[in-house]
Amino acid sequence: MDFKTLKSEAEREWKALQNLQQPLIQIGLGTCGKAAGAEEVYCAAQKTLQQIGQPGRFMEVGCIGMCYLEPLLAVRKPHGPFVYFGKLDAEKTEKILVSFLRDDDLLKEWAVCTLGEETIDGIPRFEELPMIKPQIRIALRNCGLIDPEDIKHYIARGGYEGLRKALGMHPEEVIREIKASGLRGRGGAGFPTGLKWELAGKAPDPTKYIICNADEGDPGAFMDRSLLEGDPHSVLEGMLIGAYAIGCQEGYIYIRAEYPLAIKRLETAIKQMNQYGLLGQNILGRPFRFQLRIKEGAGAFVCGEETALMASIEGGRGMPRPRPPFPAIQGLWGKPTNINNVETLANIPAILTQGASWFAGFGTEKSKGTKTFSLAGKVKRTGLIEVPLGIRLGEIINQIGGGVPKGKKLKAVQTGGPSGGCIPFDLLDLPVDYESLTAAGSIMGSGGLVVMDEDTCMVDIPRYFLTFTSEESCGKCLPCRLGTRQMLDILNDICAGQGYPEDIALLENINETVQKGALCGLGQTAPNPVRTTLRYFRPEYEAHIVNKKCPAGICKPLFHYAIDVEKCNGCGVCARKCPVRAVRGDKKKPHSIEQDQCTKCATCYEVCKFQAVLVC
C-alpha cells in the first residue's frame, strides 16, 4: 500500500470514529493509569455496558497529563463532546455510565471537563482548565487522544507528513530547517540539535548510526515514558527524519527495562512501520533505507550518558569514555553516531510540517519551543505538562500545579534530578529556560520537577541524591568514585548530628574537585544538589551542625515530636494509630508523648488533623 492510499484510509477510519453512532469510551491505560487502577475501571466499564445492553466502542489511549485524576475515563455520545471523569473506581464508573448512557443524566459533579467542539453547560472545557490553559502541546500533541497502538490514528492526525516532506528535501536543507527552529536537546544539556546533526552528517564514514536515548534514569522524571506510551510513532518518525538528514541506515532505541509498556508500544509501532513500508528499502518510494532495533537497558543510571550508552549497546559494562572523540565522529563501533533524546525527536516531525519559524515563535530568544515537565511531589495537580520555554516557575507550580496541598508552605523546587538543584521558593519569578536555570545553580535536565514543602529537609535531599549517585557511579574515574562517597559520608554525619562547622567548607572543596575532575556528566553534576542547597539553604545546614536540630523533622536523631496542649483536643487518633503506644492521655484532654518509647515514625504527625503534633 502506498502512503497516499494509507493516509486516505487512515483519515476515513478516523472520521468514522469521530462520527460514531454509538458511545465511544476512552480510557488512559499508561503505566500511571494502571498504577492507579485503570484496568479495574476498564473491566467495570465493559461490564456495565453489557448489563445495560448498550453497544459501545472502547479505545485505549496514553496519558493526557492529568495524572492526579487517574484513573481517567472519557465518554462521548454521538454528536457530543468527550466528557472526562476522574479518580474513578469500579463502582463510580458503573454509576456514571448507567446514568449517562442509559438514563441520559450526566452526573455533572463528577465530570472534570469536556473535549471537543460541542460544550456542556456547567462543565469547563479541557482547554480552559487552569492546569491546561498555560500549556502548548507540540511533543505531546497526540498523547491521550489517539490509540498509540494504531498507526492509522497517528497518520490521520498528520503523522509521517514530516517525513514525507523531509524526503522531498535535500538532507542539508532538513538540517538547515532544524537549525533555524532553534531546537535544543531535551535530554538536559541543551546542545543545538541541528548542529549535532550537521556534525554527524559531515562525518566522512558511510556507515553511521542514530540512537534514540530513552534511558530516562532521573528519579522524578517520566516524560519520555509517557511520550513513548502515548505516541511512539512521533518519536520514531523523528528518528527517520534524523537518519535521512545525516545519511544513516541503522538506528537503535536504547530504553530502560523498567518501562515494559513503552517497550511493548515501540515493538508494535515498529511492526506497523515495517508493514506499511516506513522501514526497510525505498521508504515512501524514495531511495532511502532504514532499519530500527530496540535495545533494553539493564538498570544503570550512567547509561544515560552517551558514551556509556554506546558501550552498553556493544554488550559490555556501561562505562563512559573521555571525549573527544565525540560520538558524532567516533561512536557506536567506532562509527559516527548521533544520539537524541526522546522528546527532541518527537518535536522534529512537527517542525518539518509546521515550519521552523512557527516552532521558533514559542519560547525565548535562546530557548525556543516548548518543554515537557513531569510535575510531581508536594503539589496538588501532579502530571505531565508541556509549556513554552520562558514561562515563570511560579506559574507552573501555582497555576498549572495548583500549589502545595494541605495548606503547607512551598520550600523549593527540584529540577534536573541528581544532576540538578533545588530552587528556593522566593525565585518563583524565574523564567524556565536553559540559561536562567543554570544561572540559578540548577539545570533544565530532562524535565523532572519535584515540588517540596516545609516538611522536606534540605540536607536530607542532597544526601538522598548522593546516595543515588554514589551507588550509580560506574567507578571508572577516581573523583566520582571517591568524591561522591566522601560527600555522602559528610552529609550522613551531619544528618546524624555529628557534623562539624568545617564540614561545609570541606563539602564545597570536594564539590569543586568532583565537578572539575570527573570523566562524565554523572560525576560532573553530582555535586549540584549539594551546591544549590548550600547556596540557598545554608541556615538549615547550620541548624543541623551547630544547633543539632532538623527543623523539617526528617533526620531522626535531631528532633523529637511533642504535643501542643493548646491545639490538642484529645481526639485520640494519634494514640490509637501510634504503633508503639508512645502517645498517652485521657479522652478529650491534651495528650503527651513518651519520648523514650517514641520511634519517630511520624504516624502521629501525619494523622493529626489539628496540627497539634510539633517537630521540636
Binding site: E70, E296, A298, G299, R317, G318, V450, C601
Partner: protein, 167 residues
Amino acid sequence: MHLVHFEQSPLQGRLDPEALLAEMQVRFEGRADELIPMLQCVQKALGFLPEQILLEIARLTRLPAARVFGTATFYSQFRLQPVGKYIIRVCRGTACHVKGSGRILDDIQGYLQVAPGRTTQDGLFTLETVACFGSCALAPILVINERVYGSTNRSKALRLLSDMRGG
C-alpha cells in the same frame, strides 16, 4: 488500592536450565553485543543468573568469563541469587522520597526482617528498591511482581504484605 489477586512472579521454574540453553542457541548467534539480551533472557526464564549458565554463556559468546560476570554484576537488573515468590519493589525516586517512601521501606524491612536485595527465609518475599519507576505523579509507588500500586502509604503497604502472607 485494589486487592484482586496476586500473580506469582511469572518466571520461576518455567524452564530447566538445559532446555533454556538449547533455546538460547537457536535465538542468539553468540555475538558479543548479544551478551546483555542473553542475560536478560536467562533471568526472565529462571528469575536469576546461575553461575553455571554464566559460564555456558561465556563459552557460547567466546568472551572471557570475567567479562560475562563483570557485565552481569554491573547492571542492577541482574541477580545472582534466586528470588522469592513475590518480589516487592519499593520505588526510591525523588517524588516517592519526598512523599515518604523511605518510611514505607523501613516499615516493610521491619515487617519482613530482610534488607533490600534479600529474600525472606521462607522464600516468600524478595525485597528490592528501584531507583525510579517513572510513575512519579502517583508517588509513593510500590511494585509487587508485575503489578504497580500507586499512592500507597505505610498501612496499605503492610496490609498488602500480610494479605499475601496469609493467602
